[in-house]
Every structure is written in C-alpha cells, then in structure tokens.
Symmetry: C2
Subunit: 114 residues, 2 copies
DNA sequence: TCAAACCATGGATCATTGTCCATTGTTTTT
DNA sequence: AAAAACAATGGACAATGATCCATGGTTTGA
C-alpha cells in the first residue's frame, strides 16, 4: 500500500511515517512503476505503526523502538535480540512502578494531605 | 535554604531548579539580606522536587506538573483542584495500561512470535 | 483532458526539556 | 585580604519528536 493508505489505517500522519522511516523504524520498497518512485508498504507496517503509537504513549523513545526493531531483524542473533527486548521490558516495568508511586502521591494530595 | 543545598538534597541540578522556577513549578522568596538577592527555598521544596523527579520519569510533562501545583494553591477552589488531580490520575492509569499492552506485545515477540 | 488529490524530497520551524556559558556580584574559607 | 565556592541573570546550544512548507512530479476521477 502507499503512504496515504498506511496513514489512514494507523492514524499516524504521512510526515511522521516518513520521519520514522528516515530513522530506521520502518521500511518500504520502491514501487514497481517506472514512472514514479512512490514507496510501497507491506501489511505488517500497519501492526508495527500501531505498536509504535502505543509504545510512544507508554514513554518509549524512537531510539528504544529502533533497537527493538533491529533486535528482531533476521540478521540479529536471536539470543541478543531476546536480551534487548527483556531489558526494554524491565525498563517498562520500572516505569510502571513509578507511575504507581505518583498515583499514590496524588491520591493522598487529593484526599486532603494538603 | 539556598539553591545549592536544595540541588544537593534532591539530585535536581541548580539549572533545572531555576528552569522549573521560571516555569512556575516551584517558588522561593528573596533572602532577607540587603547585600544579595539570593533566593531562599523552604523545606517542602525538597519533597516537591523529588515528586517532580518521579513524575517526570512516569511521563508527566512540565505543563502537567504546573497544573497540579496550581490546583493545590490556596487560591484554587478545592473542588476544582480535586478534579484536576483526578484527571491526571486517570491519565496515569491510562498510561499504565498502555505500558501493560506494550509489555505483553514484547513478551510475545521475545517468545518467538517472530 | 484537466483539476484535484496524491507522492517524494529537503529544509525550515516548532515545542519541550533541559544544559552550558559568560558575566557579575556575594559568601566562605584559608 | 585573597582565593575558592556559590549565586543570579540572560542568552546560547542541544536533543528529541514531530510538523509544515515549497517545489516538482504522478495518479485518479469527473
């Protein structure tokens, strides 16, 4: 599919998709046509971009996402890949714990520890 | 206390404290001295800055923190304040949910849904 | 066929969240 | 009293994560 359709399906803007692609988060092929050089995206790009959207909301950086993508590439030693992903999971759990702390603090403030 | 001591106690740098102060996240008085205009910070600044450090890690923005601070000010209707804080709590829970999703996704990838 | 919609590229711009630096003045320490 | 450490101010700089724009080409659909 082309970029417009991908943007449509994922809610991620064309500009942002191009930005992600420049930064190695997503890849595409060049269309077969000899008259244009439109990029062609595969179906799994939809899943990937939706994952990115959630991951960004969860606080992961572009660099985090890139390292995850690289760790799942065929060229990557699967053992290394698992370690990278496990470390990202740990960071996320850490962050979840922080969020819990902040929620507790705010609950206290709300209930008049003021 | 002065800014150096506050930085020391909280792990937040002088520059960052000044940045927060410029942005309405923290307040200080001017020292009594007639010879300098050093700022003077109260003890509760330590607690507040530590809260900020955790909250930033949890993904809250400066604007979020400012609105929380404003909502707990004496000048603010307590009812309004509680609503603001409740909405921030909801956002944090939302974010925690996102993190759970991302973790689940990564667990799957790690276990070879590759 | 011809306008409207789409695409690529490259660069500019923006907001956020700091950090760093120079300058100048004040305390503290020695 | 002189040096070292600290403080205020203001502006420059930086990284991140986008978004916007101009230009020029392509596809589509009315």
């Amino acid at each position: 599919m082309r970029i417009g359709e991908l943007a449509e399906k994922t809610g991620v803007s064309r500009d942002t998709i191009r930005f992600y692609e420049r930064n190695g988060l997503i890849s595409s092929s060049v269309s077969d046509s000899t008259t244009n050089n439109y990029r062609e995206y595969k179906d799994d790009c939809v899943v990937i971009l939706k994952f990115y959207a959630g991951a960004r909301e969860a606080g992961m950086s572009i660099a985090d996402l890139r390292s995850i993508m690289e760790s799942t590439a065929d060229s990557c030693d699967p053992e290394v890949g698992r370690r990278v992903i496990q470390s990202k999971i740990s960071e996320l759990k850490e962050r979840a714990g922080q969020i819990e702390n902040v929620i507790r603090f705010l609950e206290k403030v709300k209930n008049g520890a003021n």
